[in-house]
Subunit: 199 residues, 2 copies
DNA sequence: AATATATGTCAACATGGCTGACCTAAAAAT
DNA sequence: ATTTTTAGGTCAGCCATGTTGACATATATT
């Protein structure tokens, strides 16, 4: 997706996210005000590599989201729409509550884009059978076509990047990404991602 | 930084970006409308791994940007401020034009946050010596302290993720990230990142 | 029958993108 | 020396997409 997760970080939307900067933090640094665990001591070299890794993430995310953003513009949509289209596409029949949990936005924000997508026929809603309060969400044919257009260039970009980085890069890449996710959420996200290949 | 690159992808402030979704694209897929190169044919298994990698990036970015976002809130700032603070911190004396090129936003947008940061004493400006039209940007002591507070938790997160993924993960991780950046910009970004460790 | 849940909706507001027009001072070109 | 270009700023307004709070409805659950 071309999203920069909500405001969290943005940045490049996404809005890619923001990173960190600067030299060898004197002890005073991060512990200054936050009730967090003391920052692990690191050598200047380690700090430097860390800062560089963070900046690469910023720039990578900035460009990663640029392809879909352009396409979305043709439709008059934004990143928020892409996120919804993506997750509905990957989890046909997903509920509004699940979507809210994934996107970490308010129902009012979701409502706005969802209304547009349903109104213009990209997403269809069906009343849940087990629980009739639920609105199960599906892509229409039109929605699937848009989803494919959005996904195409982004997958191409990621595929090339992984290929260029060598054969074993994919596992390492995903492992780091997984460990960037909050520990509390990691198992749930993993379940979501691996069971998501519905059809 | 907690940015989600501009809208591009958007999100957690690191705004996280949007990803892609869905099953084994029938040939028609991404080439449908875009004048791009034909999407490389991929097996369902390859597609699946690709989609999963993209989703991990979304969730990783979402959480990656969450730490600074909270701290920024204390100051009454947003991700946009973090991005500026970060790059000024890492490139003392950076010009407005360079910053615009990195952030890929308009000068009016940058102006808004820069004005606040300068007004509240987090950033100081000096007139360029070679070219007196330039305003060279530096963090004040106050700005450096904020920068350290913002960077701390984010570095901690990345350091732990890399450590958890194994020793050689860092190189692979950065290699993939570098190749996600637009090819045209890659060399410039690399130069920026590696010469950035100024002090 | 009472309560809790899933979802929707109205209204108002904040942030941070954007465009367009226009201004100044300094550098570079003629 | 005059003109043009460049670095930067500024005003005004718009748009996308977050937020909070209050309230409504239908269905499940107790």
């Amino acid at each position: 997706m071309s999203t920069a997760p909500p405001a969290p970080g943005s940045a490049p939307t996404g809005t890619p996210a923001d990173s960190a900067g600067k030299p060898a933090e004197s002890e005073a640094s991060a512990a200054a005000d936050a009730p967090q665990s003391e920052p692990t001591a690191r050598s200047p070299a380690e700090t430097r590599e860390l800062v560089e890794a963070i900046e690469w993430l910023f720039f990578a995310y900035r460009d990663f989201t640029s392809d879909p953003d352009e396409i979305l513009h043709e439709y008059g949509f934004g990143r928020a729409h892409h996120r919804v289209i993506h997750f509905v596409g990957r989890h046909p029949g997903i509920t509004v509550a699940d979507l809210l949990n994934i996107l970490r936005i308010t129902k009012q924000s979701l409502s706005r884009v969802l209304k547009e997508l349903v109104g213009q026929g990209y997403i269809v809603q069906k009343t849940g059978t087990k629980d009739r309060r639920q609105r199960l969400l599906y892509l229409s044919d039109k929605g699937m076509e848009m989803e494919r257009r959005l996904a195409g260039p982004q997958r191409e970009r990621v595929a090339k990047a992984i290929a260029a980085a060598g054969p074993e890069a994919q596992k390492a890449w995903c492992a780091v990404l997984a460990h960037l996710v909050n520990e509390d959420d990691r198992r749930a996200v993993e379940a979501l991602i691996s069971n998501g290949y519905v059809s």
